[in-house]
């Protein structure tokens, strides 16, 4: 099966600033592909080039087997990071309008839009102006507008930002449904848990370069194992331990990367009595750890 997206040494400069520095990657068809990276890494610029909003200065982009992505715009769906709606348009009119811009007929767009809004619990808002919607509802409306025309490939830039847990679950289900239907989903996020939970593939970008790229299992294997601790009490002591190269402390949960020649027993002995331990085990490194480690060292690691 051909890849949904192939980027070959794609480069984009903004004046003297290199936003995207010779990025090459392949997005397999039917996969959920995570675009990870810190702010300013070049994620949005890369995505905009995939959507032919920008054009690369050099290198080539091939989308759904088509080198000229202008031609296949109607087969793509795009949810930008900055989300907005026409405030004075009715929700039903808005999704229908975006559907029609993607080539749907007036009647189809209207019917599909209403059906989607009904299905996602926004039925009573079809005739409400968008300015009356809450932020979460507005974001759902916008995601639905992106999916109106049943695109083969969807690019979602930070789809979970600003959503409550219930709506996060709704959006996650939408993404999983698309995968089941054989579509390709690319989404970018800062939240590693989201990527960990649903991605088949991830790519980690920093300063316009690919740091890590591959199936999630392979990428996680790169990180080796770490110690996971659930605890109660004052976590400040965790920073002072010996035999530890790094602690990712989240307040109730901490992840330790052990220094060479130290083991878990040594760590546990230091912790006991200082905080209340609820769980202590050795596991595969979290994506978060891999992210922090890679961005910190900024050396290209290939997980193939």
């Amino acid at each position: 099966m051909t890849d949904a997206i192939v980027l070959d040494r794609v480069r984009k400069n903004f004046g003297d600033f290199v936003a995207v520095n010779d990025i090459s990657l392949r997005v397999p068809r039917g996969s959920i592909y995570g675009f990870l990276g810190p702010n300013g890494a070049g994620k949005t610029t890369t995505i905009r080039m995939m959507m032919s909003i920008f054009y690369p200065d050099s290198g080539s982009i091939n989308i759904l087997g088509e080198p000229n992505s202008e031609v296949i715009k109607d087969r793509l769906g795009y949810l930008p990071e900055e989300k907005g709606l026409y405030k004075n348009m009715k929700a039903g009119d808005l999704v229908a309008y975006f559907g029609r811009l993607k080539g749907m007929s007036k009647a189809d767009a209207r019917a599909k839009g209403n059906e989607l809004l009904e299905r996602f619990g926004l039925g009573e808002w079809i005739n409400a102006k968008c300015k009356a919607l809450s932020k979460g509802m507005g974001q759902k409306v916008q995601i639905l507008a992106t999916l109106m025309h049943d695109p083969e490939l969807v690019i979602l830039d930070e789809p979970f930002s600003g959503l409550d847990p219930v709506n996060t679950e709704v959006v996650r289900d939408i993404i999983l449904d698309m995968k089941r239907a054989g579509k390709t989903v690319i989404f970018s996020t800062h939240v590693m848990e989201h990527a960990e939970q649903i991605c088949d593939h991830v790519v980690l970008i920093n300063k316009g370069r690919v740091l890590l790229d591959g199936p999630i299992t392979k990428v996680r294997a790169v990180g080796g194992s770490t110690i996971q601790l659930d605890y109660d009490g004052d976590g400040s002591v965790l920073k002072t331990l010996t035999g530890v190269t790094r602690v990712n402390d989240a307040g109730k949960h901490a992840e330790f990367v052990l220094a060479p020649n130290y083991d878990a027993d040594h760590l546990l002995q230091q912790i006991v009595g200082k905080v209340k331990v609820r769980r202590f085990d050795t596991r595969e490194a979290s994506l978060h750890e891999i992210f922090v480690r890679s961005v910190g060292s900024d050396t290209t690691v290939r997980g193939e």
């Binding site: 984009k12 004046g15 936003a19 070049g42 610029t45 920008f54 930008p80 004075n88 975006f98």
Partner: protein, 516 residues
């Protein structure tokens, strides 16, 4: 193209939902209707002013009344004559005037006064100059006319002509305490006439509490002056002919030269034609100004709410820009067509609806002048396109209306110039200044409209239009380049130098600014 049309369609629907559009579309017609209907209505609403006269001369007050009746009759006869000659609304005249109308149409202008005297005063001696057939008719109906005229109500008279004094003033007998009556507003005013007005003005007073409206005083003075002068002439043994010859002013008759190069009379329409372009310039200016503002607003909305990026994933920047410009042009055309239509209907029908006599059709005929109208629509579209291209470029680089204002300043200044130059250009439509201004594309639509009375040569029409089209093409091209970069940009608006550099970079490249 399909996508641009979709964008245009949405733009129109959205503009139709804004209050500004409906205010724009209705405010102007309301102003037009009010300005036409207002004076007619005000004139009618003015109550008839009662006045009294204390006459110590024993003749002047009565003579004034007689002359006033003659003057009123003359006006009524003139109107009957006009209707008979234009075959308009003759059947709406009161029967006695309708009967007189055919005679009036045949009467030489010099004899109109005699006919009026016969009818108003029953003075059969005045009928002598009339031709036999006319005299017979006039003498036959004079009793009937007197009966009708003495009892006719103000509204009956006004339906014929708005001018007769009887519609405005009414003499009441001078009885009781006149000062008190004036104070209590029972009387508008009273006149006092001295013992010998022929000698001098001593004892002539006009007593009223309204010190601003001199209409009644002026009207009365006018008639009294004539009567007193006649007596003075008689006293000095000067004939009326000699007197009027002595009094006659030296006048030049205004004439113009027609298209075929011959001398021709100047009509009302010609005068209107000279001034109408200025009205059109105003309307054109307001239309272009308000419509392009709408375009600016909607561009800023899309940018500030970040919808533009979603749109750009479905349409190209050029499609989006074209769609927006077309959509707003659609609403603009709707607006100006409504304006022109109401102006047409208002000038044609409103006065008649309010009971004023018809006859102001000169203005409405001018409005239906196809060349003037067509050039108005064409110049609207050309002017709109040029300013739309500029404003959509500005809208795409700013995030808020406040930021837009700074960039709008030079555009506003440019737009003000043709308004300031309007009167000088109207006076000298083919002067060097007007010609030079016509060839500056930002002024072309206004100045050429302004010069319509000139009119400019065909060469100038073609030349300025070509230049304008070239300017529009260039501006749209530059604006599209600015738009595709600006619409996605966030943060502080760019400096002019930066914008110029965007125009100069080839499409697809994004110069000098970090995006994330």
């Amino acid at each position: 193209m399909r996508k641009s049309l979709l964008v245009a369609q949405r733009e129109i629907m959205e503009q139709l939902k804004t209050k500004g559009f409906w205010i724009g579309i209705f405010l102007f017609p309301v102003i037009i209707v009010l300005s036409v209907a207002g004076p007619v209505y005000l004139e009618r609403a003015k109550s008839i002013r009662a006045y009294a006269v204390q006459d110590s001369s024993g003749w002047l007050a009565e003579a004034v009344e007689r002359e006033a009746a003659v003057a009123d009759t003359r006006r009524l006869l003139l109107e009957a004559q006009r209707r008979e000659m234009t075959k308009q609304d003759v059947d709406k005249l009161p029967p006695v005037l309708a009967a007189l109308a055919p005679v009036m149409a045949k009467l030489p202008p010099s004899q109109l006064d005699s006919a009026a005297r016969v009818l108003a005063l029953g003075d059969s001696a005045a009928a002598t100059p009339l031709a036999d057939a006319n005299r017979t008719t006039v003498l036959a109906v004079r009793e009937e006319y007197r009966a009708w005229f003495d009892t006719a109500s103000a509204s009956t008279l006004r339906a014929v002509s708005s001018a007769p004094s009887r519609v405005k003033y009414r003499k009441v007998p001078a009885t009781g305490d006149l000062n008190r009556q004036v104070r209590d507003a029972e009387l508008f005013a009273y006149f006092e006439i001295g013992r010998d007005p022929v000698k001098d003005n001593s004892g002539l007073t006009f007593v009223s509490r309204n010190l601003t409206d001199d209409d009644l005083k002026d009207w009365y003075e006018g008639i009294a002056t004539e009567l007193v002068r006649k007596r003075r002439l008689a006293q000095e043994g000067i004939s009326a002919q000699t007197a009027s010859w002595l009094n006659a002013e030296t006048q030049f008759t205004q004439r113009t030269v027609s298209e075929s190069g011959e001398q021709a009379a100047v009509g009302m329409k010609d005068k209107l034609r000279q001034n109408a372009p200025m009205v059109f310039v105003y309307i054109l200016w307001i239309a272009i100004f308000s419509i392009t503002q709408g375009l600016l607003m909607s561009t800023i909305e899309e940018k500030s709410t970040r919808i533009s990026e979603v749109l750009l994933s479905s349409v190209s920047p050029v499609q989006l820009m074209a769609g927006k410009i077309m959509g707003v042009a659609g609403t603009g055309l709707m607006m100006i067509l409504t304006w022109v239509l109401t102006a047409l209907l208002a000038t044609k029908y409103v006065p008649a609806m309010l009971g004023a006599p018809a006859g102001q059709s000169d203005f409405s005929s001018l409005l239906t002048d196809p060349i003037l109208l067509a050039s108005f629509v064409v110049y609207f579209l050309l002017g709109y396109l040029l300013y739309a291209a500029i404003l959509i470029g500005i809208g795409s680089v700013v995030n808020t209306i406040q930021e837009a204002q700074a960039l709008m300043m030079p555009v506003m200044m440019t737009l003000m110039l043709p308004l300031l130059a309007m009167v000088p250009i109207g006076r000298d439509p083919n002067g060097t200044f007007a010609k030079v201004m016509s060839f500056i594309p930002t002024f072309t639509p206004f100045v050429m409209m302004n010069r319509a009375a000139g009119p400019p040569t065909v060469l100038e029409y073609v030349g300025t239009t070509l230049l304008m089209v070239a300017a529009i093409a260039f501006t749209l091209w530059a604006s599209a380049k600015i738009f595709r970069i600006g619409i996605l940009m966030t943060g502080k608006p760019p400096k002019m130098r930066e914008i110029v550099s965007w125009v100069r970079t080839p499409s697809g490249m994004v110069p000098g600014r970090r995006e994330e």
